[in-house]
Symmetry: C2
Subunit: 464 residues, 2 copies
């Protein structure tokens, strides 16, 4: 028999995050958790990314409780989470004490594998979370944030992978958040990383540009060990290629998948009902299923293009679109080729827009860009030239240390501030990560009437 | 440089037929016909299939006029149509005189390539249209109707392809209408047909089951010359993989495509607007974009499954679904393994349903099945056993000749019947194919008020 290819199922995290804005409640998961656990899947991605924020903000769920619940039903498959390195689940650097504690508690509450990445691919920003994960007994999957640019060559990514291996990674993920990894690059990249390291390689892409299936196929042919797929009801489009489809195709091509496709089909039937509900109530916008090859043509992620279009429309400057589009790669190069992923894609887009609209390049510079040039986000792939640096931050000093080295411990203050509502260390961490949302959530938990409008309470009393 | 892979663009026929029920009017095509002609596409599929009926029935367009209009704008790309052999664009056998005249007029009005297939893969049903096409100077693409069953092996299809070559085919199409052709079978089948014939091989699949991109990739690796794709706005799901995406992926892998992707992108922008309009007014049901791997698991096309489900629901017998599903392959085997394509899929489904619900197998038999067993549709892939034949048609004789041999010429009668409205031989053919719709359409053309309700005419008079 052929080589075994394992699958990570994303429907509980990236699949639902990509298609239904992470609004799936635990109730939609409970009926099939045991089946998901016993159908041969290598791992379930269930936590991290936007799920934490969404639990607190929209679903009235304790994210830690969700994790424990899932763990209580899942005994065979690994539980995986996505972590933005020093940014954890947010977009700012947290102090090391928060990172250490958060990672430790993630493992304690049930996570097996932590997929850790940094938007700039600055491995210094992964250091603390990798160490903490290993200390807690978790498995570290270091993720390369895949992007295209003159400097993001196969050689560059391979050297990054070897750096990650030295930093203690147990496996490598090629994380293509924008769906721009083409089949031939996937083939080359996977082959080279397999040759240069001793680690399993997992590939993550999206169907947005209409090439995801081929990218996985070529990655597998080059030696990829695990692919990320989503059960058919929330597959393709902005999500991943379908689990059942990839399994059947690879099986036919002589690979082993260990998957019970009949069981997968039964689980898919459940999620088809969930999907239909979201489609009916507008929670699933059919636009997410459209094929959008633009990102491959313009080398700019689809989401960034639509952001620019809507920002320009808001400013009544839609006619400057082509100028801004041409300015994007220029700004990106000048800023040292940051990967075009959140929040860097938004930052580069804003700067390009301001450069065009203000009539003078870098006349207006958002605070985030100044912080970035100061080194507060980490090391750009290429050093920013003296001229551009001077233009943006004048003679200010640039931080050369790991940005989080500058941060004082944050947990003591968090503990104090949320003390009256926090019942556990996990609660404190929720507050440390998302103060407003956690305070709201924990407060409501304390007082069931907390968020009930006064008027409604009166009505209830009247009736009684 | 690598081998050249050519593309046939389907957005004007199969793409729009699959996603928006063939409702695209010529006005949506006109603005981009010249661009479609000059961006390197090998062919445009523009006619046949359901377009003819849809023009007459829903769009108030003369299908012949549409073809001539398109031809007047398209000088480089070949114009292609889909033809159901002796059934032309319908589901019954037409007499040879109709077939001959229809094919001749198709070429005269602008068609370059006729893709001709028979639902049973009975090449006798292709004979007349192939001969007529060649006489008219058209290019004949004989299409294998791809299906899966115990008898539909690679060897079977290869022998069919060689038979088609002997019958005069200029190229072979592997036509996978249900999207069930897996990558490994595509690879094997294309390779074997290329080895066994001297003809170009074109592959046609659908994205329904979530494997279409991989199937094309493997087909290309095995030597396929042309693939059928659809511009991104109506791509994937029940339609084909996206033209731009496949072009970029294949280009990256070292193949030549001759395509101008920037031009394709500009054309796609136009069709994105069309798509959005159909989506907004309900003409595009987002369900067509969903991934549905069921057809791969059950070896039964998705459309057939949903038909069964809704038929059973109508009959209040939804609880018998699994029994009917198990009966389908049994009936199919007993009927000589017909490909599960229209109308055979519906016929097999109905018979399976009646076998289960009536409590006795073949107690109730629809007229179509009796005709089929009589040989009126052609030769089944496998001869039907004496027992089953006897059960269905008793001691009746089975036709062993080509079914259309039994038909008297039909054009004289058609000419007479539609004489008062027909202004051309093309009009007569429209009537010969779709009498009701053509009479309505040609009548309306005669009298612009023909279909205006009396009440509205009165209102107009009142106002005046
Ligand atoms: Co992702
Ligand atoms: Co088709």
């Amino acid at each position: 028999m052929g080589r075994t290819i394992r699958f990570m199922e994303t429907i509980l995290r990236d699949g639902q995050q990509s298609q239904i804005a992470t609004r799936m409640p635990i109730e939609d998961m409970l009926p099939v958790l045991e089946d998901l656990d016993s159908c041969g899947l290598y791992a379930l991605e269930v936590w991290g990314g936007a799920t934490f924020d969404s639990c607190l903000r929209y679903l009235g769920e304790d994210p830690w409780e969700r994790l424990r619940t899932i763990r209580s039903h899942v005994k065979n498959a690994k539980l995986q989470m996505l972590l933005r390195g020093q940014n954890l689940l947010g977009y700012r650097n947290y102090a090391d004490d928060v990172v250490e504690e958060f990672v430790k508690k993630s493992v304690e509450n049930g996570i097996d594998v932590l997929r850790i990445f940094d938007a700039l691919n600055d491995t210094r920003n992964l250091k603390t979370s990798i160490r903490a994960a290993k200390e807690a007994g978790g498995e570290v999957q270091a993720a390369i944030c895949y992007t295209t640019s003159d400097v993001h060559t196969v050689r560059y990514f391979v050297s990054l992978a070897t750096e990650m291996e030295r930093a203690g990674a147990d496996s490598i993920c090629i994380k293509d958040m924008a769906g721009v990894l083409t089949p031939e690059v996937a083939y080359e990249l996977v082959g080279e990383i397999k040759a240069a390291t001793d680690l399993p390689v997992q590939v993550h892409t999206h169907g947005t540009a209409g090439i995801g299936q081929m990218t996985y196929l070529k990655a597998v042919e080059a030696g990829a060990d695990i692919i990320d797929t989503c059960l058919s009801p929330l597959a393709e489009g902005t999500s991943q290629p379908a689990t059942e489809s990839m399994a059947i195709a690879l099986d036919g091509l002589g690979y082993e998948t260990d998957l019970d496709v009949d069981k997968l089909d039964a689980i898919a039937k459940h999620f088809a009902g969930v999907r239909d509900r979201f489609l009916a109530d507008g929670g699933l916008n059919p636009k997410v299923l459209e094929v959008e090859p633009k990102a491959l043509l313009y080398k700019v992620p689809g989401g960034m293009l639509s952001n620019l279009i809507s920002n320009l429309a808001d400013l009544g400057a839609s006619d400057r679109y082509n100028e801004v589009l041409a300015e994007v790669p220029r700004v990106r190069a000048e800023l040292g080729y940051p990967p075009l992923v959140t929040p860097l894609s938004q930052m580069v887009g804003s700067q390009a827009l301001m450069n065009v609209l203000s009539g003078e390049r870098y006349k207006v510079v958002p605070k985030e860009i100044r912080d970035y040039v100061h080194g507060m986000y980490g090391r750009p792939p290429v050093t920013i030239s003296k001229e551009i640096r001077k233009l943006i931050i004048g003679d200010d000093e640039v931080i050369t240390r790991r940005p989080a080295d500058l941060l004082e411990p944050e947990l003591p203050k968090a503990r104090e501030e949320i003390g009256m509502y926090a019942k556990s260390e996990e609660d404190v961490l929720s507050y440390a990560l998302f103060p407003e949302q956690a305070r709201d959530f924990l407060g409501r938990r304390e007082d069931p009437f907390y968020d009930v409008p006064v008027q409604e309470v009166e009505v209830t009393i009247d009736v009684a």
